[in-house]
């Protein structure tokens, strides 16, 4: 319910909820603040609600983690890093990783080239083979005979 106090007093109270709670207002203002609460029911309710909700800041501070958390953290570190204390030096890891990746890439490129070259050789061998065959056919004069499709024609 609204009271004998004016709006400025109410707005002052509502702007200084934290300051009054933390006792950061000058004594005179703090007294006026408290006097106002005796007169204004709504501000008094707001201050009480505010204190009740913000009291959970302190309650939250007293919440404790699981007593086994240290073991869990150390286990996780060990699992993730392959055993604490036994892990390869991260500096070495930073160097070894790109070297091994480059090496694998190089091998892949070499294999790719050799496969390509092999196919090319087979293709050129094939061409040579066909050329030899052609020469042989012409020398024996049987090329037309074989290539003549009409020979197999039903007509």
């Amino acid at each position: 319910m609204q009271t004998k106090t004016n709006k400025i007093d109410c707005s002052f109270v509502r702007r200084n909820l934290f300051s009054s709670q933390e006792k950061q207002l000058p004594d005179k203002e703090l007294n006026e603040f408290e006097d106002h609460l005796h007169l204004c029911e709504e501000c008094s309710r707001i201050v009480s609600d505010f204190q009740s909700v913000t009291s959970f800041i302190d309650k939250k501070k007293s919440d404790e983690p699981s007593p086994f958390i240290q073991t869990r953290i150390l286990q996780r570190i060990e699992t993730q890093m392959g055993g604490a204390g036994k892990v390869a030096n991260p500096f070495l890891q930073r160097i070894l990783r790109p070297i091994s990746v480059s090496f694998v890439l190089l091998i892949a490129i070499i294999i790719g080239f050799s496969i390509g070259k092999h196919r090319e050789t087979r293709f050129s061998d094939n061409i040579d083979h066909q050329n030899d065959l052609q020469t042989m056919k012409s020398e024996l004069n049987i090329s037309d005979f074989i290539e003549d499709n009409t020979f197999f024609d039903n007509h």
Binding site: P65, Q70, G85
Partner: protein
């Protein structure tokens, strides 16, 4: 029990992934890491999972750690970043879930708000109050949220927050002031909505 280790000894040990140094790191920083993550994500299990990610990240990036800030500040920075990443992912997941629910509701021809029970008395329900606070903090702009959480929950000094956030002291002061103003406004809106519902 681990013997004392200087920051430099710890860093050197972590670079070569020395087991004792890793144990010393986890033993000394786990509580701060989990708690800070918890203040951001508001769920202890998620915070514990995040802490594992934070320690893995520390071990992965320790070689790049520059000594222009303390190790403690650097670890805070990693924790805050991991927590914010988690919140962003969660936000995206929630968005798609909401879209899914909306589509499901459209197909069913029903309105979900009709199915869910109305919240009874929020002022008497601790869980609900926590949720109101978490939602209000979470809805703050990112920089205000970080400054507010590190100040109010982690109880760090403005100087420490300035170092973690790479900002000047005055910027941190201003962020925390604006965060408080915004939070007051958000909570007030919630209270008046609640009061109107119960009129």
């Amino acid at each position: 029990m681990h013997h004392r280790m200087t920051e430099q000894e710890l860093i050197d040990g972590l670079i070569i992934q020395n087991k004792e140094s890793i144990q010393f790191l986890v033993n000394n920083y786990q509580k701060n890491v989990i708690k800070t993550a918890y203040y951001f994500v508001a769920n202890m299990e998620d915070a514990e999972d995040l802490s594992q990610e934070v320690f893995l990240e520390i071990l992965k990036s320790i070689g790049r750690y520059k000594k222009n800030s303390s190790l403690y500040t650097w670890i805070y920075r990693i924790t805050v970043n991991k927590s914010l990443d988690h919140l962003r992912k969660q936000k995206r997941r929630n968005f798609f879930q909401q879209v899914g629910l909306f589509l499901q509701d459209s197909n069913d021809g029903t309105n979900r708000s009709d199915k869910e029970p109305a919240i009874t008395d929020t002022r008497n329900d601790d869980k609900e109050k926590r949720k109101i606070l978490d939602n209000a903090v979470n809805s703050l702009p990112e920089n205000q949220k970080i400054a507010f959480i590190l100040s109010k929950y982690d109880e760090l000094s403005y100087k420490e927050i300035a170092e973690i956030m790479n900002l000047s002291l005055s910027s941190v002061e201003s962020l925390i002031h604006r965060a408080k103003m915004n939070l007051q406004k958000k909570l007030m809106n919630h209270f008046s909505e609640y009061a109107n519902k119960n009129k």
